[in-house]
């Protein structure tokens, strides 16, 4: 089927418009970013800054050590992420289940989210990292890796629990009613009907928390773990040159970008599904 003349005209117009918009975007990008780069590089202290923060030789020196340490950040992140998700779902469900007998656990769950969302993450890391082993209890891990995992899981579990709870509460009551009307138990309705929709709805917020978690693995340096940031600091304090910090930052950014892109993609996909938006 050949498109009509009018359709061809439309397409041609759209192509032209795309080109025109692309050209405007390119010019404004060059002008604005170029201006920024120029402003920074022509400032009086730039040569000093370049020597201190962007020293290529220094970067090459510290790269292998930082890369090796960053593998620890990645391992921490992968373990903590799974645990945080489990804990978050558990706490969220405890908070929404309408069972009066669970009241004491519900109170604990509310206390937990309030306390750990309100405490600076660094403080939790310090208290868990140095406080737990000081108790000299048997069975408490002394391995720094696991202490770090416990600390960040507690802190982030509280955020994620609230996000998931918001997701569950946002699912329309008719979904519950339909499930129960089909003869499904409360548990099955939650597991098969409500939770999948809830998680999907809060996907972007969850991923946002995970991006943040990925960066906060650097806080575990304070309890002695030599991760990427600490590794950079060791190099920096030896030479008094800040370049290793910039190298470490690049690693963290490189690790977060894929997550950010996935978040964007999921957002668009869910908009398309739920609101019929064609983008």
């Amino acid at each position: 089927m050949t498109p009509s003349a009018r359709q061809l005209e439309r397409e041609q117009y759209r192509r032209r418009r795309t080109l025109r918009r692309g050209a405007v975007a390119a010019v404004s990008t060059i002008v604005v970013l170029g201006g920024l780069v120029l402003a920074v590089t022509s400032s009086p202290g730039w040569s000093n800054v370049r020597r201190t923060f962007f020293d290529v030789a220094q970067a090459k020196d510290s790269l292998p050590g930082i890369a090796e340490s960053f593998w620890l950040n990645i391992r921490l992140f992968l373990v903590i992420e799974v645990l945080v998700l489990l804990l978050g779902v558990l706490i969220a469900i405890i908070r929404v289940v309408p069972a009066p007998a669970l009241a004491p656990i519900k109170v604990l769950a509310v206390l937990y989210t309030d306390i750990f969302r309100g405490t600076p993450t660094l403080l939790v890391v310090l208290l868990v990292g140095f406080g737990l082993p000081a108790l000299q209890l048997t069975g408490v891990p002394t391995s720094l890796f696991w202490l770090g995992v416990i600390a960040l899981t507690l802190s982030y579990g509280a955020y994620v629990a609230e996000v998931i709870r918001a997701g569950i509460v946002s699912i329309h009551p008719t979904q519950w009613a339909s499930g129960r009307a089909l003869g499904l138990s409360y548990g099955v309705t939650m597991r098969r009907i409500v939770l999948p929709q809830a998680i999907r709805r809060v996907g972007p917020a969850l991923l946002n928390d995970f991006v943040s978690l990925q960066k906060d693995t650097a806080l575990l340096a304070t309890i002695g773990l030599v991760e990427a940031l600490r590794s950079a600091q060791v190099d920096q304090s030896r030479t008094f040159n800040f370049t290793p910090y910039v190298v470490a930052a690049v690693f963290f950014i490189a690790a977060t970008i894929p997550l950010a892109r996935i978040t964007d993609y999921l957002t668009v996909r869910s908009l398309r599904r739920e609101n019929g938006l064609v983008t």
Binding site: A25, T52, F130
Partner: protein, 294 residues
């Protein structure tokens, strides 16, 4: 409503970005244009009125907060107690400042070493002198040479170590930015990586939690820690850092500071007239009974 620009537009924008990046100046290989140091002036040319100071007539001295014993006392650098506080006042005295003309400011590690204007005339905070660091800041002549020491608990199997070799399998900890940390990685070369802490307080906590077997610190700090901070702590032994120079502390100044020759001259004078030695005896317990680790 469009969330993403269409593909063509993204490509054009990316191209624009690439072009902008290409306009950025190429990085040089970070040469430091090391200017030759003027010869240390004699103290006669270094009296208060001739000095390029941050604030006229006062000497602004920086140190970190908290300031630890035995270098300072009661976290108050201005009381003249503790070795580094005493040294700072002795240097000020040599340059012709009265005690009241010395102001103390707090400056953390990163503030001290960042490029650009500093908020002090010099900083005294157990900064070890090294060639690498001299590319970024100025150091005065050394005012103290520190040996390294290994601290552990009485209950530790490493308590009886006679050589550094015997500590190879120990889990060691040290403070970030210290020569102690370098001594671990370059001299002891332990089988498990050293743990790094923000300050000695945290390293001590880790030792007491048995998260590390031993911590490494300079000898005066080690003395103080085992005497006052660590229940059941003991010094296994001391050793000299052998990589490069002996560890020496210097006063830290802004790179290229006009004050450096004068401050150095003052420190040299204090070394020559025996003042430094006197202050060491007064404030730092001297190692007499600590065995050398080979």
């Amino acid at each position: 409503m469009k969330i993403f620009p269409s593909g063509g537009l993204t490509a054009v924008a990316a191209l624009a970005l690439a072009l902008t990046a290409a306009c950025a100046p190429a990085d040089s290989d970070g040469d430091t244009n090391d200017t030759a140091k003027p010869a240390a002036s004699s103290l006669a040319d270094c009296q208060v009125d001739d000095l390029p100071l941050l604030k006229d007539g006062t000497l602004t001295v920086a140190t970190d907060d908290p300031a630890f014993d035995p270098w300072f006392s009661d976290n108050d650098p201005s009381n003249g107690k503790g070795f580094e506080s005493a040294v700072a006042y002795a240097v000020a005295d040599k340059l012709g400042f009265a005690k009241d003309d010395v102001t103390w400011v707090k400056a953390g590690f990163n503030q001290v070493i960042q490029p650009g204007k500093k908020n002090f005339d010099f900083d005294i905070n157990q900064f070890s002198i090294s060639a690498d660091r001299k590319k970024a800041v100025d150091f005065s002549s050394p005012y103290y040479a520190a040996a390294q020491a290994i601290i552990t608990l009485d209950s530790s199997p490493f308590k009886g170590a006679k050589t550094l070799e015997e500590l190879k399998d120990a889990k060691l900890g040290a403070q970030v930015g210290t020569t102690s940390l370098q001594a671990i990685t370059e001299q002891i070369k332990p089988s498990t990586k050293a743990l790094v802490y923000d300050d000695t307080t945290k390293a001590v906590q880790a030792l007491q939690n048995k998260q590390v077997d031993a911590i490494v610190a300079d000898l005066p700090s080690a003395y103080y820690l085992t005497a006052a901070e660590i229940e059941g702590g003991t010094i296994v032994g001391q050793f000299q850092p052998e990589t490069g120079d002996q560890e020496e502390f210097g006063l830290l100044l802004t790179k290229g500071s006009k004050l450096t020759p004068c401050v150095s001259a003052a420190v040299d004078a204090l070394a020559d007239d025996g003042t430094l030695e006197k202050l060491e005896t007064e404030w730092l317990d001297q190692a007499t009974d600590v065995p050398e680790l080979k």
